[in-house]
Amino acid sequence: MTPAGAPARSRSVAIAGLLAAGFVLLALLGSLVVPHDPLAVDLAHRFEAPTLAHLLGTDHLGRDILSRLIAGARTTLGSVLVVLALVLALGLSVGGLSGMLGGRIDAVLMRLCDVFLTVPTFVLALFMIGALGTGLVNVVAAIVLSHWAWYARIVRGLVLELKTRDYVLAARIAGAPRLAIFVEHVLPGVVPPLAALATLDIGHMALHVAGLSFLGLGVQPPTPEWGVMINDARAFFWTRPLLVIWPGLAIALAVLAFNRLGDALRDRLDPTLVAGRGL
């Protein structure tokens, strides 16, 4: 980067960090600050323009849009965080096993990954929902099952590289058990680049959750979720485009914040690792 661009860059990263922290706080504590009950139907006040009582107006059932957006942060971002935790757990264990043990186990696990990576991610997620059924829990499972192989592959690659380092060889010669070597010497090298990749993927996965819900395959109404809100608003979109615009803006801002943060992390930690993935 040019020196002149550096302050603007760190400022935008700081803003993104604040925004991301704000979204996480909303997801955790949103129920304390919602102005109205996000599920309360009030047909007498449908399609209200923004007022002081309803800062962003009301939807086709008279529900407060701001409250639904805040509650939606919990559904959308909460499910993404669960997905991420599961994907990291699966990726670390499969990739770690594969890389540490090598040999036949490595070959079998990697062929399994190959099969999962052969199907386009979104098609695989759709297929998993077809097998498991719709709903929030199944969407989480579908996205985990369509993403874990990427992580297993990357973890394995990192493990193989770290295994050749002198300090790991020294630990092996000293007779340390393989599990101890993995936990004490390899894992610390795997975590930072993985953290950058995971942060970058938060946005990507949020788009998947919202996209599946938008198609009516994910979170089911009346649960407040950003993709569901866009799907709900579709029917009235010609006359009331604002109903579609608010939840989309929420998704875009959240994804933007986490992407910016992930970029910054990646630039600091390892510029070469994640670049090839391109997404």
């Binding site: 040019t2 099969v115 386009p120 098609v123 077809g130 788009l207 979109f237 989309g248 994804v255």
Partner: protein
């Protein structure tokens, strides 16, 4: 080069076999009972006798391995069975919808490349200037906006507001503009950013310095040594984007009433119409695999070590 292509081709059948096993097993061991769903979609009350009949008819009473081999053998000859919902053969029905989806995803890919390459090169050429900042800004936004939401915004502006573009349907080039733009935004942004970065990297490398020192004209240096090398990561990334573009097409089709596989697949998934889900997953995988084969070949052609048969280890 031929050996390289043959090696890549040989990898495809075992991968597809693996996917077919995955698709078969997950659906069979998944949450539902195909016989029950078959009866539901046929609107037959699920009595014990009806369930037993359906199981026998669908062959679900046989051992799992026999079912798989039988299904695989038929699938290899293009017979994926009848849709539970429409009672028509699945593959012809799916292939009827497929061209519209491929047209959309293909256009999106073309638009992505046609816009991202000049944008990336422009940004690299004006490093640090307003052009660079503009392109980087577009790229940051492009990977963050949900494609289905962008589609709605485009309709608001260009159909509702300006009345320039038709909001629904397929037919003319004008119908393609908004869905293709909405889908390609992600790939466009990633490619522009990637080309910018790799052009800057290539421009700073020693072989480019040497080319300049030899007194090659600037145009030739750019063409032969900078752009050509910088394209390699873009080609790799494009292979990954194909999946994303296909997925985008499936989502955006529902907004523009685009007659592709998206709506067909989504209703099949909603209905748990197993034969359609199986066929859809496999056909999309084949499309994806073939696109990636094309990308691998393009990649090999760009890399002289592979093109000239001296494969890098």
């Amino acid at each position: 080069m031929l050996r390289f292509v043959a090696a890549r081709l040989a990898l495809i059948p075992p991968m597809l076999l693996g996917v077919s096993l995955l698709v078969f097993l997950v659906l069979r061991l998944g949450a539902g009972d195909p016989a029950l769903d078959y009866l539901r979609l046929s609107q037959v009350p699920p009595t014990d006798a009806a369930l037993a009949d359906a199981r026998a008819m669908l062959g679900l009473d046989r051992p799992l391995a026999v079912q798989y081999l039988d299904w695989l053998w038929r699938a290899l000859r293009g017979d994926f069975g009848l849709s539970y919902a429409t009672r028509r053969p699945v593959l012809p029905e799916l292939l009827g919808y497929l061209p519209a989806t491929l047209e959309l995803a293909g256009t999106a890919l073309a638009v992505s490349l046609a816009l991202s390459l000049p944008l990336g090169a422009w940004a690299a050429g004006h490093r640090g200037g307003w052009q660079d900042r503009l392109v980087r800004g577009i790229a940051v936004l492009g990977v963050s906006l949900p494609n289905f939401w962008v589609a709605f915004l485009l309709v608001v502006v260009f159909s509702v507001g300006l009345g320039w573009l038709p909001p629904l349907g397929r037919g003319t080039v004008l119908h393609l503009v908004m869905p293709a733009l909405a889908i390609c935004l992600m790939s466009l942004s990633v490619n522009a950013r990637l080309l910018r970065a790799s052009m800057l990297e290539a421009a700073g490398s020693r072989h480019v310095l040497y080319a300049r020192l030899r007194g090659l004209p600037e145009g030739a240096v750019m063409r032969r040594h900078v752009v050509r090398n910088a394209l390699v990561p873009v080609v790799t990334a494009t292979g990954m984007h194909v999946g994303e573009l296909l997925g985008g097409a499936l989502v955006v089709e529902t907004i523009f009433a685009w007659p592709g596989v998206g709506r067909y697949a989504v209703s099949a998934i909603y209905d748990r119409d197993y034969p359609v889900i199986q066929c859809f997953t496999l056909v999309m995988t084949v499309v994806f695999v073939l696109c990636n084969l094309a990308v691998d070949i393009a990649y090999a052609w760009l890399d002289p070590r592979i093109r000239l048969g001296r494969e890098a280890a």
